[in-house]
Amino acid sequence: MSHKIINPSTSVPPANAAGSTGYDYTIGPQQTLPNSSAQSVASTLAGTRSVYHESLHPGAHGAHVSVAAYAFLFQEMVSQARNASKTVSEIELRLHRHGYHIGLRLLELLKFRSSVTPGSGRSFFHKSGGPAATAGDAVGGAGSAPSGAGAGGAGSIGTAQDESLSSSITTMKRRDLRLLEVLQFVHGPVWLYLFDRASDDLVKSSERENEYMIIDNTPSITRFISSTNVQCDFFVCGIIEGVLDLASFPCTVTAHSVPEDKFDRRVVFVIRFDQEVLEREALRF
């Protein structure tokens, strides 16, 4: 239980306040008003811009920005972390925290999106970075020519706003229960989302039972940083840790620069799972 006291739900405020203020955990659940006035609340809120009116559809916003813009932002984030820190480990911690913030979000976002049945409703596959392509001009969902026309037609109905992805989901993608499943999710979809390609390798440590490694021969984010610092990989460590932590696979992730032949920037991300993960795995599967 949380340490904050939750009042009994009978201490409901005046009914006319219900629905207009949002959830307040010190008050508890509010009752839905009779339909008529509840709708008026909804309509007064409809004019307000809110994150809930944006679509999770990957095509709803611009698909790409330039690598240069990202590089500038990333460099500034790193120097901001440097300026705000007294020690090297504090810099790393800050970058890690930024990554973690993103990792948490990616788990829910990418899994949810991947639940959408290809070809049903609006297609959401990446557009080819073409200019000013609007969310309306959907590409054939399944990628097959015959169904393309149908999917495109369906996609042009309605606007990107307020359309839920749920309506095109028949079965939700499964939650990953096994260690290997969730690691493959990081190695595949997460890497693909971040860097446009899967990671170069996913291997299990031969020395330690709880240790796995994700290998990136040509890390793309840190190549923007001119210095030889490995520090910036802590950002990516944070992303990995955020994804795994939220999926209930607590772990620590570290980055190690291990150049090899022609890959002088090759990085190995070492993932050490907490003991409880292995115990659960042994118990359940």
């Binding site: 739900s9 959830y23 839905t32 509840a38 609340v41 809120l45 994150v51 829910e108 949810f112 992805l165």
Partner: protein, 170 residues
């Protein structure tokens, strides 16, 4: 039928709660209403067990024949929606897990005075959960939202209630 819905965070703290009632239908009697959070919390242990079951729905699908359904193919079924996980007198309790293991839980009451077990329409309840899950993902995408904090947005609240009207209050 009135429902009590809550999203429970990683520290077993409620991050959102709502009661869905309407004028035509009964609401929870006051003495039961107070019990709702307790009934709901009692079901969290069950959810934590189902969380790691390969096929949570078939294990707990009220009918005794559930075990037979556990074929090799069954792992293709979703494991976010847990279906009916518990009951308490006339109340049915359903559950759902997001990918980040936020627990979505709901108590369904029958219209009668607890004499008959509340019926759960899996299709509509699952649809409701999925839509709320999507709203939750949007909440999470906001950089200012901290995981496990209460969701206080009035827009979220009104959208959830609109979904409840569409899927639950029939």
């Amino acid at each position: 039928m009135p429902c009590y819905f809550a999203i429970i965070g990683a520290r077993d703290n409620p991050i959102y709660e709502a009661e869905f009632t309407s004028q035509q239908l009964n609401s929870f009697p006051p003495e039961l209403k107070e019990l709702n959070p307790f009934i709901l919390h009692a079901s969290l242990d069950i959810i934590e067990d189902l969380q790691w079951q390969v096929n949570p729905q078939s294990i707990n699908s009220g009918s005794g024949s559930g075990g037979f359904l556990r074929s090799r193919n069954s792992s293709n079924n979703g494991n976010c929606y847990l279906g009916k996980i518990d009951h308490f007198y006339g109340l049915a309790i359903t559950g759902y897990l997001s990918y980040g293991n936020m627990k979505f839980v709901m108590i369904h009451s029958s219209n009668a005075n607890g004499s008959t077990l509340a019926q759960v329409e899996d299709w509509s309840v699952r649809s409701f959960y999925q839509e709320v899950h999507e709203l939750f993902v949007k909440t999470l995408m906001n950089p200012f939202y901290k995981l496990n904090d209460p969701i206080t947005s009035p827009v979220f609240d009104s959208k959830v209630r609109a979904l409840a009207r569409r899927y639950l209050l029939k």
